[in-house]
Symmetry: C2
Subunit: 106 residues, 2 copies
């Protein structure tokens, strides 16, 4: 795993799949970059994660929807902590949206 | 601790001290925002941390210097993983420079 890089380097081109890159991995935690180009979770799909996820939109925009009814429009700089097993989905993303996500066991 | 926010909200004004805000804290890890306005570590001072630090310049610019001789100029999007006890200092920062740091025990 590289020890340095740039979050905006080597962005996958529009049209390709949502891209996930691990930037740091340690026991019980992982940092990853996610690049979305207008992607959304499949209809009816919910992420249901055992870990806490702290996630920020660094560039672009997105809408997160939660099964409990909350809907969160996110622009650059917006972050949210998602508790374990809080079911959520990506309702929409703008072009070239860059996320940074930190997943933590506890 | 809030469960959401914006990384660019409530930036301290120029001239004040470097500002640290914890965004998430869990056993063995912590995420913090750091805002610098032209600050630098005192001459001869070295950070010597027990934890791994993963740090990114989200906005602005900075120069990190390492005791081993490496010098790293960082612009927006640049990130680096700093191993435990790798002594380093902030040589310089630009105005309104926003960092995101993840500190991990392991």
């Amino acid at each position: 795993m590289p020890t340095h890089g740039n979050l905006y380097a080597d962005l996958p081109p529009p049209g390709s799949d949502e891209a996930f890159d691990t930037l740091l991995e340690r026991p019980g935690m992982r940092i990853e970059r996610i690049v979305s180009h207008g992607h959304a979770s499949p209809a009816g799909f919910w992420y249901d994660q055992a870990q806490t996820e702290w996630v920020i939109v660094v560039r672009g925009e997105a809408v997160l929807a939660f099964e409990d009814g909350e809907r969160r429009a996110m622009a650059a700089g917006d972050w949210v902590t998602i508790a374990p097993h809080r079911r959520h989905r990506v309702e929409s993303t703008g072009p070239a949206t860059v996320w940074l996500a930190v997943h933590v066991d506890s």
